[in-house]
Structures are given as C-alpha cells and as structure tokens.
Symmetry: D2
C-alpha cells in the first residue's frame, strides 16, 4: 500500500500514520517529496485495508498495490495449464471448439445439431438444460430431462458435454450427466455457487460477468481453486457498455491480459458477445487471432424457431464455414514465428 499525505499534512499526522501501520504489524517508509510526503507500507500487505488510513488527518489517498490472488497466478505456475474436459483438453495445442444450441429443446433438435458439430471435428457440445432468463415468463429449460438427452448425445457422438449450473442442485446433476460445469455471467460472483463447484471434481467453465473487471474474474476463479478444484477455464463473453450496435461489447484485450497474469486457459464466446448472427464469424476469427484457446458457438438447426437467443445462432452451414476459417487461422497463429512474438 502507498499512503499519500496532503501537502499541508503536519509532522504529527505523518507520525500518527506510521504508528497505525506498526500497530497493524506492517512497516512504514516515509518518503518526503517536494510538495508532500508519501508513505510506503510493506509486509504481507494482502490483508491491509485502505480504510484504516483514508479518514485520518493529513491523508490524501491510500492506494492498494499488491494483487490478492495466489493460485491463478503465473508466479505459482509459469507454464500454461491445459484443462482436461472428458476425453479432450482445453488450453493445449489444439483450438477447442464448443458448439451447440442455446437451450436443449427436443431430442430431434439436439441430435440434428450434434451431428453437424461432430462432423465439424469439434470435441465439445454445449446446450442449456437450466436457462437463466431475464423474465420469469420465458422458457426456463428442460432440467434433468435435458441433461439426460445431453448424456445421450455424448454416448452417440463422443462429444464432451458443457452445460450450465445455476445452483447446487444443478451442479450435482451435471456432475452425474455432464463433463464440464458452466457458470454463467450472471453468477460469476455468486460466491456460494463458486465454492460449491470448487468442491466437485468436474472442470468449470467460468464466464466473465457483464461488468466484471479482470481482477474480479480472476478472483472468482480463485474462489473455485481455493476449494481444491484447479480445472478452471475462463471465458470472455462480452461486457455491458453504452454501445448499442451489438448486444454486448466483446472485450478481446482481456485475452492477452489473462495470458500475462494467469496460467489458466481462456476461450471466447462471439455468440453472446455480439448477439447478432452476422457478427459471430468475424468475431470468432478475431478471437482466434488474438490468441484465445478456444471458442464457444451457438448453432441451431433452425435458428428462427429457437426457443432462446435465435438471433445469434448460426445455421449448420454458417457454422461449417466458421470452423473452416478459424482452423486455418489457428494454424497460422500457432506457427513458431507468431508465437514467439506473441508470448511476452
């Protein structure tokens, strides 16, 4: 922590701040400047609160410096993690593609989508059995029945199942039927759910909240890992801004920032990230180009009949084109010359 004193702070004000620092078990370093004095605080500063100083006489500002995360940090594990999800991995040498409809609607819809997705070479299938909907009157998902259908998809096509849990019951059910527990943007700071998912042994796909800073996303992952589950995959799915040409603002700069701080893999969701069918493929390309470890894409056999988020779902044909494009791009990006320049 750094405490900046006001220009007119008295020597006794500075003395009092130094005393409080010592009382709290830290060490203070007064640095007199031209106009004002700053006081550096050292020790295990993870647990000191700026509040102790902000309202003291003569204090202008107290600035927190040390970041509070541990397990997610590259300081702990310098090489990038690859997370095993069922029979495949996310974060390794291959581009992970997770595809499927927004919601599980029917056996026919699901198998029709799964056939296309398996044929594309993707190894992960998505589909919601529990749907977080803004309105209580909108379709809320098929629940356990939907999960059973997803398990059938796995058995038939060998695809690994990624599906969302909204509460403890959902986590339990997905532990039984699925391969990866998705925690959605609206639950990114549902700390009880994070802790509960941290106690399972299934990997967790953690989506960034609509207004979550990078630190908050990383600390949400830290919540899961602190319970003993180290298999966390991060996901950028767009943040909320004033912009209105897309449903959200896909923040691709978070990808290199994540790779600089943490060993965890990160994927990009251009479907929720834009909300418009015609933007999905360009932003999927951009996600791969920026260095993401994978993509999560909404595909529906008949988007205009979808019970949820139809306007952003790709048709099977559009999806096939997307896969072809991003695979070519990924090959290019993974050339040694590009990697060297990218990994800083």
């Amino acid at each position: 922590m750094l405490i900046v004193m006001k220009p007119d702070a008295a020597a006794s004000d500075i003395q009092r701040v130094l005393e409080v620092i010592e009382t709290l078990g830290f060490r203070g370093h007064a640095m007199p400047g031209e106009n004002r004095t700053a006081i550096g605080v050292t020790g295990n500063s993870g647990s000191i609160d700026p509040a102790h100083f902000e309202n003291m006489d003569g204090v202008a500002e107290a600035i927190r410096v040390t970041k509070p995360y541990k397990l997610i940090s590259k300081d702990l594990r310098p090489e990038r993690s690859a997370v095993k999800v069922g029979t495949a991995t996310i974060g390794g040498k291959d581009l992970a593609i997770i595809a499927g409809p927004c919601a599980v609607e029917s056996h026919e819809q699901l198998f029709s989508a799964a056939e296309v997705i398996a044929a594309s070479g993707a190894k992960f299938f998505r589909g919601g059995a529990y749907k977080p909907r803004t309105s209580p009157y909108a379709f809320q998902g098929l629940g356990v029945e939907g999960l059973r259908m997803l398990a059938e998809v796995r058995d038939t096509y060998g695809l690994n199942i990624v599906t969302e849990a909204m509460d403890e019951h959902g986590v339990d059910a997905i532990e039984r039927y699925g391969d990866c527990i998705q925690i959605g943007a609206r639950n990114m700071q549902n700390f009880s759910l994070l802790k509960y998912a941290g106690k399972t042994r299934k990997p967790v796909l953690l989506k960034r909240g609509l207004s979550a800073t990078l630190d908050e996303l990383l600390l949400a992952a830290e919540y899961i890992m602190a319970e003993g589950n180290y298999d966390v995959i991060l996901c950028e799915r767009g943040i909320r801004t004033f912009g209105n040409h897309a449903r959200n603002t896909l923040d691709l700069s978070v990808v290199p920032a994540v790779h600089r701080i943490t060993h965890l893999p990160i994927i990009v969701d251009p479907s929720h990230g834009t909300g418009h069918n015609y933007m999905v493929t360009p932003l999927a390309r951009a996600g791969v180009a920026v260095g993401a470890d994978g993509l999560i894409i909404e595909v529906h056999p008949k988007p205009d009949e979808a019970l949820c988020d139809g306007s952003q779902a790709l048709t099977p044909i559009q999806y096939g084109e997307l896969v072809a494009q991003v695979n070519e791009l990924f090959t290019l990006i993974k050339q040694p010359s590009v990697i060297e320049a990218t990994v800083s």
Copy 2:
C-alpha cells in the same frame, strides 16, 4: 413488435414476413411509407422473439415494444405499496432508515452500533452474517452465529433485522432469525435464489445489480413475486461506470422512473453507492430529495477498525447528523405542494 423493412425490400419479402407473423398466431399491419414499409405486430406480443424476423430477407430491424412485466406494474396496482418488515413498514408515510455495520463482527460492536441506531429513531438494523467478498481470502462473515447476535439485537432494541442471504441455506436461516432477506447486487440475477426467496413469507430487499438496467431490476422483482411473495423493496446502490472518484455511480434518476412504472417502494444506499465516508451524507440528502422511500446506511462504532468496507462507514456522530438532516428534508418533501408536483 415493429418490423422495419429495408428500402429495397421486395413485395414478396413483405408478404413472407406477414405470413410468418400469422403462423405464429399474431396479426401483422403493413404500413407503407415514403422510403420503406414498417409492419406492426399485434396480439399477445409478450412471447414473440425478434429473432424470428431479424435474419429474413428484406428486414432491417425488429423492435420489441411491449414490456414483459406484470405483477410489479402500476397497471395492476395503481397505488404505491407499503411493505411490512417486522413491526414497521417501508414505503409508507415515514422515511425508512436501515442502519448498521457492514458485517457482524462481535457482540460488542453490534450492540454499540444498535444503541446509537435505536436512539436515532430508525426502525431497521442491518448487518451481514454472510458476506459476499471479491476475494476468497477476505473475511466471509460469522454465519449463523452472526444471525443469532442479530436476533439478540432485535430482542433488546426492538429493531427489525435486514440481512443478506447468499444461497438457500442463508434464506432458511434468515427466515428463522431475521425480518427481511436482502439479496445483494451480485445476486440480482441469481434466478434460483430469487425463486427460492419468492417461496418464503419474509419480505425481500432486492439490490440493483452493478450493471442492471431498470427492466432487469423490475424483472428480478417479478421473479420473486411470481412465486407468491409480493413483499419486495427495491434498492439503488450505485452502478458501475468509467467514473473513478466514487466506488460506484449512484443513479438517482432510477427513483422517479421506478415510481412511474411500479407500485413497489425503493430505497437508496449512499454507503455502497459512493464508497467514501465524506460523500454519504450529501448523497443521503439527495436520495431523500429525489423521492426515495428510505435509506440504508453503514454505521460502525469504530470505522477504522472495521473488517469490511470501513472507508464508507459513518461514525455514530456523523450518523446522528445525517438522520437529523434527512428527517428535516423528508418533512419538507412530503408537504402537499411538493408531492403534487412530484407524482406525475
């Protein structure tokens, strides 16, 4: 819904849109204009998705018009609701003041705060037993032990207890020990928790999420009410913006907007809304002046020793001054001449 066709849309495009509208059980009204045709859709348009039209040939835009809420609406209940919380009400003729520390820390801290708050004439006491903290390594609250202390405060001082639940277990415990279940900003769209709270018979204080639109806040209330619990109090506690002089941006314009659409009461939280001790009293005054039904204020006997959010807590003396000021203001605001000009 309104569907706007492109200037170069063919007559057959328009015909096809009209057919889809009919297939879906609605009625289409084509309105040819100078440059382009617009098509109005009538019927019970609550359940129609713009996605059905957005990717059709010739369609420029599909705009949703009808709002999807029912129970929160003044259309349903024109007069304002007063919600009973323990022995007092929020939303009635009096200004409701909920005060107390951020977290329950100890018996001494709690009773020291409660004495001041009871003396001020406030009827509601706040204090967190379960704390949603950004970091898993920060103080997480005393749990049921904290709730028991809060129940003691009620028994001793006659204050009604408002405290946060983060999951179903918390809801169950608060039903037993508390008077009002608070759902925090980070859980505003934790739909499982909303439904669960909707099944209890305790009133719910629902805080606006950091990036929640007004519609989303109202639909979160609708989730609770749809389960049969009509006792919901809304709370503005600041939104997340680019601004950095305060911890959040307190959005007071939401107060008249809420009063225009819904019969539910709304209170303002200037403590979390600003995050700085010196801003709390001015913004509390502003909250009352804009027409809020109450305030929720953090008070700590010794803010600089608080285990959480100390920099925004008021000292007992500051709190006493705040109460004196807002009571005077509320009296002024409630004069018939002011009310007439305010309630539109």
Copy 3:
C-alpha cells in the same frame, strides 16, 4: 510515482530502475517487502511518465500518484470561489438558477420564456444560438441573429445571458453579446477552444463531457485558467452509461468530490442529465440537496413545439413549482448545522 517490481525481479533490475529515475532528475526510494520491492519516486513528479518504466525488466506496474492540476486546487485557494456573471454571482450565498429554452427559436418564444424566468427570481437566462446537433440535418441554431435577441432579453429583463460557443467565432460573438460562454459536453476536451476561451475575460460555464472522469473535467478547467481566465463554473450534466431509463446518468457524487478538491463552483443540469420532463424536478431537488451551487434548467413556453430537446423542457408552470421547491430546500441546506456536517 510508485513503481512495483515483480516478485522475481533481479537486484540488477531494481538497480536499473533507480538509475533511470536519477537520470530523469528524480529521487528513488527502494522499499523491499516480503514478496516484492516497491520503489517510490519523489521530486516534481508532475512531469514523469509511467511509460518510462512499464516495459523495463522486472517492473510489474508504474502508478502515477501526484495529481497534475494546480490552479483549480484548494491547495492554492482554500476558500470557495464565487464567479461573477454579469450583474450576479455563481457560487456565493445564493442558489444560482439559469433557465431558458434549449435553442433560441423566435422573438416571441424567447420573450415569453424570459418573462416567466425573470418573474421566478432567477438571475440567469440560457438559450442556444449555436446548437451542437448529432445530425447535420437537424436545426443548427439562429447564430448571431439569435445572440442579438438574447442581448435584447438582457436589456428588457435584466437577466444575465449564458450561451454556448462551439468555436472561436462563437466565442468572439458571445464576448460581444453575452455574459457567460458555455462550453458544451461534446467540446469539453476541445483544447483549442478551451485555450481560446481562456484568453477572453468572460466567465466560462464548462460542462462535463459524456465520458469525462473528474480529473479530466478539472484539467479542462485548468486549460482555461492557465490562459489567465480564472472565472470558471463547472457543470454536471449526466454521463453516458449502459442505463436506458434516462438519456444520461446524472452523477451527483461529483458535487462533493469537486468541493473537496477545487475552489470552483459547480452547478447541476437535470434537464440534459435525465432527458425526461417528469424527472427534471426530482433531480433538481437532489442536485440542491447534494450541495450544488446552482441549477441550469430548460424551460419552453410550448415544449411540444420546441425545435430541440422538447421532451425534457419544463412548461412555465412546472418551472415555477421547481423554483419554489428548490428555494425551500436550499434554505434548509444552508442552515449552519447542515453546512458544518457537509463541508468535510
């Protein structure tokens, strides 16, 4: 500035940073901590750029600490400034009310509004002769002809004229015809215009930009003052956020923050700040309650015929009610007991 080294920074990395600090003419203070070293930089740190350090080996972060403003600061002038505008002042003991139509449209419209405003006791009249409009095809204002009409209003009613300049020609014209040069939100960082206005001897009303931080607003004022014009009045008029129930989000927390840092007065614009007629009066009350030095209000004799921003303009009757309410509130706020608790 504070430079935070990485945990694995070598002693030679630290040494190199200290050398660069000295080369630049400053003094470095190394503070070894448990996990990492921080280096404080003192001297006249206003002119040092974090960029010098950010990409050096072993550096985790470089954090700017000293604020770069001078003339606006209370360090320079501890008591609050009152700015003379024509025959009256803004920032003194009285609540300043500036009222009038969005745009000057006609002689009849102007005089009809001015009569109401003069009768209300307000001392300032607003009205745009040059209008910044999002579309080039919207009404752009009457120009110098409009300014001449405004001068007539002053001569007839004794109201002081506040009107917007969009460029140097506008500044010249307002110097001749008006009493106060308004610089609009979209020009808050039009630095050429700020410098030009800084060379006149008319006071400047500087509106906060739609996405301006407090620091940026204060530095925009500093631009004007650095040219020798110390008569600057700040104005909060709403910022741009994701919120959609109001046209902008009026950020009232900026008022106490401004009063804490600078001696300059600040007024609030609830008309542009909300964009809706029914919100103007509640937010005007909130602006006064939070401690603003004045208000700027749009009033139109016939809002539904206004050529610009009609949906936010008050009718003469609504305006009269607003003035009555805010005057009562201001009297209450200015009582010594309230002032003492407010000014921290």
Copy 4:
C-alpha cells in the same frame, strides 16, 4: 416513428395523437392490440421529434425508427468505397498500414521511424504536430515546424502523411503540408471542425469518440460529407468502459456493423485501443481478422524516451513482426471462400 399508447388510453387520446400527426404533415396508422394500441407514423419521418408526443395524454412511448443518415449509407452506394490518400488508397484490395510515432519530436526521431516504416512496405506515415493532451502542462506538439518535418518525410520516403488537426488553423496547415486530416476521438463531435474539414479536399480520418455510439460516429461522418467532402475513413480506437486492464476497450464488433451499414472504409487503432505495448500485436491481428481495412500503429525508435504515449509504442523490431503477421492474416482473410462467408 412508432407511438405506443398506454393500456388505459382513451379513444380520444388516440384521436388527438392522430390529429397531431396529421398537423405535422405525416400519416398515422392506428393498430389496436390485445392490451393497447400502437400508432405507426409514416411520411418523411427523418424530421419528426418524439418530444411532440411523449408528454401527451395516454402516450406510453414514442420510438424513433428511421435512421437519419443519407450519404454514408449503402442504400445510396452499395459497393464499398476506396479512399485515395496521397498516392495510395484505404479501403481497396490491400491492407492499409499507417504507422509512426505518437508525436513529432525531432528530425532524428522522425526519420529513424520513417525508415523502418517505409522498409516494412507501409504506405502511410502518422505523427502528431498538434497534440490533444489531457493536461495543459504536457507537451503540446511542435506545430507547423512539425508539419514541415512530416512533409520532408514524404519527400524522402514516399510515405503519405496522416496527421491530426485540432482546429481550423490546423486544418489549413495540414491541407498545405499533409495528405490526410485526422480528427481525433475528443473532437469527433466538434461539429464546427467537422464542417470545416468537410470544405477541404483532403481525405479525413475520423476517429470514434470515447463514448460515441455507432450512429453518432456515422452522423459525424455525415457532417463532413454533407459539406461536399466524401473521402472519409472511419477508425475504431477503443471506447471508455469500466474495464481497467487496458486503457480503452477496443470494440471490434463495430467493424462488421460498419460494413453492413455504410460504404466507408474502417481501420483499427490497437495502440490507443489498448494502451499497452504487449497488447498491440494480438489486437492488430484481431482487427485484421475481423475484417478491418487497415491499421494505425504507434512506432517509436526508443519508446521509453517518447514524449507522449510511450507505453503503447512498439519498437521497430516489434513493429516488423506485427507487419509480417498481419500481412499473412490478411492474405488468408481475403481468400474468396472467406470473403463470401463474411460479406453478408
């Protein structure tokens, strides 16, 4: 426009709205629904203001439908425009790369950068002679002397000069010395400057404002074009959000949105868009992958000695790697199979 009536609107309210529509010279189409009536308005709705209706009895909402732009629109010119800048074009078959230092500092710095940039195959050189700086005490640029140096760069290396104008004097000087007038983010809605630039015959590079919606960006371009200058290039340079891991949030979804609405070319600025050296190359790749017509990149021979924005400038070596990568990507993106899937 669409006017939505309240559920309890009287028949006479509807009648009155229809009358006002006719009085204004438009045609109203009442569409009775299950719960409420909506009224469509046709005619040249570009010039009708929702304000006329919003405060009428029985009206719930008035929604503007028609977009107010004309010259930028693909309705007017369906094929994409290529803009000639000096001896080369932006928006054609090649990827346009504009590179150079943030500010012109010295002859040596400029020529050192230009040599690298010319060698890379880029055809455009950037460098600011007039610098918009947040603080009046920061380096403000070399002015006309800087422009003369830029002209020398052109004469020596054959690079076309892109440089920023902050006011009319700057526009005049750039018309004489430069090839393309840049209008910066902070001046995007400086309408006087837009009009003035519209009267020159040099192309204009228009940067998106920090909080500008897509519509506002397009209308700013429309301002320039309405004066007769059709050579406008748009530039995404990051928007302001709550995010703090990058200086701005680069909004790449605007690229496909721009290509869908307008024929104008759009380039991406990953330097200002991120503010961090290590993010520039990944985001440059993403910009090309999403379909941008070009990039603008800050390069400095010695970034840690730069007088402005050093932390985001690339070294010559980093810049060389970036160019190699984006050229490969662009070749891939421009394959017919990709283009077909992209252009919707």
